[in-house]
Symmetry: C2
Subunit: 285 residues, 2 copies
C-alpha cells in the first residue's frame, strides 16, 4: 500500500516535470499522511507544507500543523486567509464570533445544529435544499475551502511545484468535500483509500499520536466534527461502503446505519456532478 503510493508520487512528479510538491497542512491525519508519503517519495527539501488558518480556525490547529511539519522536517509556510476572506465579503455571510469565547461558541454551534432537522445538515448540503440562512452558510464555508485551493496553487505554481490533494475514498464516495475546493489538485495520492486505511497508514508512517488520536473535523465551525455531519462513525461507514462496493450482504449492520449510508450516496450522486455539458446530457439520456 505504502510503496505503491510512494512510487506513484515519485514517477508522476518526474514525468510531468514538477520540481516539488505543496500540501495544505490542516493538522489532521489525511494531510499528515500525504505529507509523510511525499517526503519519502521526493525528499523533505522538495516538499512544502502550507498552513492556512482563518478567523474561525481552532487555535490548536496551529500547534498541530507545526507538529506535522517539524516531525517530517519540511518547510512550513503559514498564510492566514482571514484578510482574503474579508475582502471577498465572506464573513458578512455569518455574524462575527470573535468576541465570544471559543467554548461558548462550540456549545452554541452544536446546539444550533442539533435544533436543525437532526443530523440532516449534511444531506441538505448534498441535495441543495434549505432556506436563505442555510444557503448563506453553504456559500460561507465553501468559499474557505476554495480560497485554500487558490492559495495552494499560487505557492505551487510560482515554484513549478504540484499541488497534492488529500481527499480519501470515503470522502469522495460520500460527497464529503467542496466542489472546486479540497477536491481540486494535481495528484490525489490517497483517493483510493478508505478513511480507516488512512489511519492504518498513519500508524505505519509513525504520524504523532496527537494527530492520529484527535476527532476528524472539517475545521469550519467551532466544535463541528466529521462524524457529527456524516451522522455515522467512520468505522461503521467504511465497513458498510466496502461491502456495498462489492455487492456483499449487509445484514450484519444496523438497518438505520445502512439506510443512512444509502441516503448519503443518493444525495451525493445527484448534486456533486462536475461540469455538466450537452455531451454528458446525451450520454446520460
Amino acid at each position: 500500500m505504502k510503496s505503491e503510493i510512494i512510487r506513484f508520487i515519485e514517477s508522476t512528479i518526474r514525468d510531468q516535470g514538477y520540481a516539488g510538491a505543496v500540501i495544505g497542512i490542516s493538522g489532521g491525519v489525511d494531510s499528515a499522511v500525504v505529507a509523510a508519503l511525499t517526503v519519502q517519495a521526493l525528499g523533505a527539501e522538495r516538499v512544502l507544507g502550507l498552513f492556512m488558518p482563518e478567523r474561525d480556525s481552532a487555535p490548536e490547529t496551529t500547534k498541530d500543523a507545526s507538529l506535522v511539519c517539524d516531525h517530517l522536517g519540511i518547510t512550513r509556510i503559514t498564510k492566514p486567509i482571514t484578510r482574503i476572506l474579508r475582502s471577498m465579503g465572506v464573513y458578512r455571510l455569518q455574524p462575527p464570533s470573535f468576541l465570544v469565547p471559543r467554548k461558548i461558541q462550540e456549545q452554541y454551534v452544536m446546539k444550533k445544529l442539533k435544533e436543525m432537522e437532526k443530523d440532516d445538515i449534511f444531506l441538505q448540503d448534498l441535495r441543495g435544499d434549505g432556506d436563505t440562512a442555510f444557503f448563506r452558510g453553504i456559500a460561507y464555508y465553501r468559499a474557505k475551502h476554495r480560497i485554500r485551493m487558490v492559495c495552494l496553487y499560487l505557492e505551487a505554481e510560482k515554484r513549478n511545484f504540484a499541488v497534492l490533494g488529500t481527499t480519501n475514498r470515503t470522502e469522495a464516495l460520500t460527497g464529503f468535500y467542496v466542489k472546486w475546493g479540497d477536491d481540486s489538485a494535481d495528484l490525489e495520492p490517497i483517493l483510493h483509500l478508505y478513511k480507516c486505511q488512512v489511519y492504518e497508514l498513519a500508524q505505519q508512517l509513525e504520524i504523532p499520536d496527537r494527530i492520529r488520536m484527535k476527532a476528524p473535523s472539517p475545521d469550519l465551525l467551532p466544535g463541528l466534527t466529521d462524524e457529527f455531519l456524516l451522522g455515522i462513525s467512520y468505522a461503521e461507514l467504511d465497513a458498510i461502503l466496502m461491502k456495498m462496493e462489492k455487492n456483499l450482504d449487509l445484514s450484519e449492520f444496523k438497518p438505520e446505519s445502512v439506510e443512512r449510508v444509502r441516503r448519503i450516496l443518493t444525495a451525493a450522486g445527484k448534486r456533486r456532478l462536475r461540469n455538466l455539458s450537452i455531451t454528458d446530457a446525451k450520454i446520460a439520456g
Copy 2:
C-alpha cells in the same frame, strides 16, 4: 443548435433544484452568448451577471460588460477583485504597472512577449517549462481566473443559483483555460461548440456588434490577444481541429499551421490532466 442548448439549461437547472444562474461577464463574446441563452431558458430575472475587473483589466471591458447586461436586461453586479488579489500577494509577483500609461504598457508587453521564443509562450505554459520569472507569471495570471471562480460560486451559492461556465470546445481541446479556474462551473452550455460556432450563435442571438467584432482577449496582460497566444487564427485553428477530430485529410492547410495545432494538442494532453490518482495510473499503464 440554439434550442437544444436552451432546453439543456432549462432542464438541468430545474432537475438539480437551482433557483437561477450566475455568469461571469467579461465583455467578451462567449459570456455574452451564454448569458443570452440562459435568459431565453430561465427569463432575465433569474440570471445574474457578475463583472469582476482588477488592476490590469482593460478600461473598455467595463463598458462592454455593462452593454451585455443592459442589452439582455439582466442584473449586473460589479465586484472588483483587486483587493482580494492584493491580500493574497498576487500582485507582488509582477511589478506594479498602474503608473505607466496603458498604451505604453501594451507596447511593452507585446514587445517583451515577442522577444521570448516567438509564439511559444502558450506552449511553454501548457508544458510547464520555463525559468523563475516565467513561473511567477504563470502563478500570477492563473490566480486571477481562480479568484473569479471563487467569487462566482460565492454569489451563486448564497442564492442557490448555479454557476454557468463559458468554455468552448476550441478552448477545451487546446488547453486554453486555467485548471480549477474558468474551466470550473456547474453547467457548460457551449462546451460542445467551436469558437467559430459561438460567433455564429452570437449573430443569431443578436449580440451587439461591438462585442462580436472585438479581438478575443484573455484580459490578463495589457494588449494580449487569444490569437497571439495561440499563434494561429481561430478560423484556421477551428478548421484544422474539425478535420482532425474526424480524421479527415489536412492537405488543404499550410503545413506550419497543422504542425502548430499538433504541438498545442500534444502539450495540452500532457499537463492539463485533472486530479491524477493511483486508479488513473493503473488505467493508463
